[in-house]
């Protein structure tokens, strides 16, 4: 099976999309990550869901996890409000990582190798400079695991 056959339609966001909208998309559609596209509609990078959490969570709580316990429930429930008004661009990791984009003709093994190397749960599939969709980790595992 080739990437073009495995790829399914996948929501995308732009670099300027509001981070709260992107997070809502992740939650509503139960997605492991989002494809971030440039002005030409081509994949710019993948935004993993955990990266959204890393941004929303105050850095001082990440530095000192014990502080997460001392905050009261009402405030703890509201920590995702930090995402409002922030563009997706600001959520992306500062270090450039390998862009997990597969060609439509790539095999399952090539996609798996790319996913493992880039540590990304989503691989975008592009053919003839057009985004066909994406292959998610669960779709890939479903295809390769023995029944």
């Amino acid at each position: 099976m080739r990437a073009r056959e495995l790829a399914s339609e996948f929501p995308t966001v732009g670099l300027e999309t509001d981070a709260l909208v992107a997070a809502r998309l992740l939650a509503d559609q139960n997605l492991p990550g989002l494809i971030v596209v440039d002005e030409h509609g081509l994949p710019d990078t993948i935004l993993p869901g955990t990266q959204v959490l890393r941004f929303a969570l105050p850095r001082y709580v990440q530095d000192d996890p014990k502080l997460a316990a001392v905050v009261d429930e009402v405030t703890a429930d509201a920590f995702c409000q930090a995402l409002a008004g922030t563009p997706v661009r600001d959520l992306l990791p500062t270090k450039a990582r390998e862009l997990p984009v597969a060609d439509g003709g790539d095999t399952v093994l090539e996609i798996a190798a790319l996913m493992a190397r880039a540590r990304s749960p989503v691989v975008a599939v592009v053919e003839h400079r057009r985004l066909l969709g994406a292959v998610t980790l669960d779709a890939l595992l479903d295809r390769i695991l023995p029944r």
């Binding site: 105050p58 850095r59 530095d63 502080l67 316990a69 905050v71």
Partner: protein
């Protein structure tokens, strides 16, 4: 000082020192590289570098640091710092100036007992949380804590790495530091609190509704393992008592710290990797490299010549020597790391103290050690790069989107450094010169 070896020692030392000061390469690489070149050229040898008390690695310093790092590593996991800080903030009822005073005092006391960098690493995250809840700017609080950690660390033998070097090279005990430096530091902290009121006056807007948000924090949740906390506090208290009872127990501080660390690792039952997580191996390697390099200067007679020149220049005038040492150390420590500075100056000061024995007109020659300690420790406050705690605070602030520029820190730090060093002058005079 004959032949080419002394000149080679000076050249290698200077190049390494410039590399450390300019951070062109990592300071550990510069120090270990310099040490390796000195050994390879025969400037020093294995016997002198590893086994000599005068010109080798000061293992008392290395193992004291190692022991305290392990103790801090275990203590950190108890949540006691978070508990204390939030408890104090709630006692202040969310009033910003009171909050700053209590956080500054906690930082200073903790820095006197532990190391400065660990202290600010523990207090800064709580400060960010509290200031966010209070709706006050966090930058003044973070700067005040860095400055307080350097002042508090000056008080004891274990408070700041330069003090550990000075104690070992000068044969000074924990109680010597407590009796000479701690009273001055208490006075300096009082003055510092007053300075905070003036310097950061715009940061103290009180909002009752926001203060209520702070009262909702639950400090008890920070303590996740009460048994570990009790064990850690018992061992830390025992270690401090053993430092104080040095004259009775006859145990070197390094031995006490190692015993405490070993005991704590054994009773805490933490995985060894967790217990040793706070050990800064690069810092220990840096110290070893420095000691070998300075040992090379001692071994080849360079330090002896420098000491003679210094003694001639000051003509045995203890007051003049003391003041020059205080202010020059403060100025140099403001721009370069005070650890290599003190490591280099220690053998020179040791020679000056020895030369002054019985020849100082009744003045205690150890005043030179105290001048070196005060200058190096307090001078570190002057700039953003003057002390490790300052650099760490700048890093934490930036990661939390509250960038503090070099000059923003320095405009406060310089005032505090000049005032605290200036206040040390009458203290040293009254304590060591006025009544002799």
């Amino acid at each position: 000082m004959t032949g080419w070896l002394p000149w080679a020692a000076i050249a290698v030392f200077t190049v390494s020192y410039v590399l450390i000061a300019t951070e062109r390469i990592h300071r550990v690489a510069a120090a270990l590289g310099g040490a390796a070149v000195m050994l390879a050229l025969g400037i020093t040898d294995a016997e002198a570098a590893f086994f000599s008390e005068e010109s080798g690695v000061d293992w008392n310093v290395v193992f004291l640091l190692l022991g305290m790092m392990i103790i801090v590593g275990v203590l950190r996991q108890t949540g006691v710092f978070e508990y204390l800080a939030i408890w104090a903030v709630k006692r202040a009822r969310g009033r910003p100036f009171r909050v700053m005073v209590l956080l500054v005092l906690i930082t200073a006391v903790a820095s006197a007992l532990l190391d400065n960098v660990t202290t600010v690493l523990l207090v800064a995250p709580v400060t960010l949380l509290v200031c966010e809840r209070l709706g006050v700017p966090v930058v003044p609080f973070l700067i005040a804590e860095a400055l307080a950690s350097n002042i508090g660390g000056t008080a004891t033998l274990v408070g700041d790495p330069p003090n550990i070097i000075i104690a070992s090279r000068g044969g000074l005990s924990f109680n010597d530091f407590l009796s000479v430096l701690a009273p001055l530091v208490v006075g300096l902290l009082v003055v510092f609190v007053g300075l905070c009121r003036v310097l950061f006056r715009r940061a103290f807007t009180y909002r009752p509704a926001r203060a209520d948000a702070v009262m909702g924090l639950s400090e008890r949740e920070a303590i996740t393992d009460l048994r570990l906390l009790v064990k850690s506090l018992v061992v830390l208290t025992a270690v401090m008592l053993a430092f104080v009872l040095h004259t009775v127990l006859h145990l070197e501080p390094s031995v006490v710290a190692l015993l405490g660390a070993g005991l704590l690792v054994a009773v805490s039952k933490l995985p060894v990797s967790d217990a040793l997580a706070e050990v800064e191996w690069p810092t220990l390697a840096f110290f070893m490299g420095l000691f070998v390099m300075v040992g090379g200067l001692v071994h080849t007679g360079v330090i002896e010549k420098l000491s003679e020149a210094a003694a001639e220049a000051t003509e045995g005038e203890m007051l003049l020597t003391s003041m020059v040492l205080l202010w020059a150390s403060a100025a140099l420590s403001a721009i370069i790391d005070n650890i290599p500075y003190v490591a280099t100056m220690s053998p020179i000061v040791a020679d000056l103290v020895e030369a002054a024995q019985g020849n100082s007109g009744g003045t205690d020659p150890n005043v030179l050690w105290w001048s070196l300690a005060l200058g190096a420790d307090l001078g570190g406050n002057a700039t953003a790069v003057g002390a490790s705690a300052n650099v760490v605070i700048l890093g934490i602030a930036e990661r939390n989107r509250h960038k503090i520029s070099f000059w923003e820190f320095t405009k406060y730090g310089l005032i505090v450094a000049v005032i605290t060093v200036a206040l040390s002058v009458p203290y040293l005079y009254l304590r060591f010169f006025a009544f002799t």
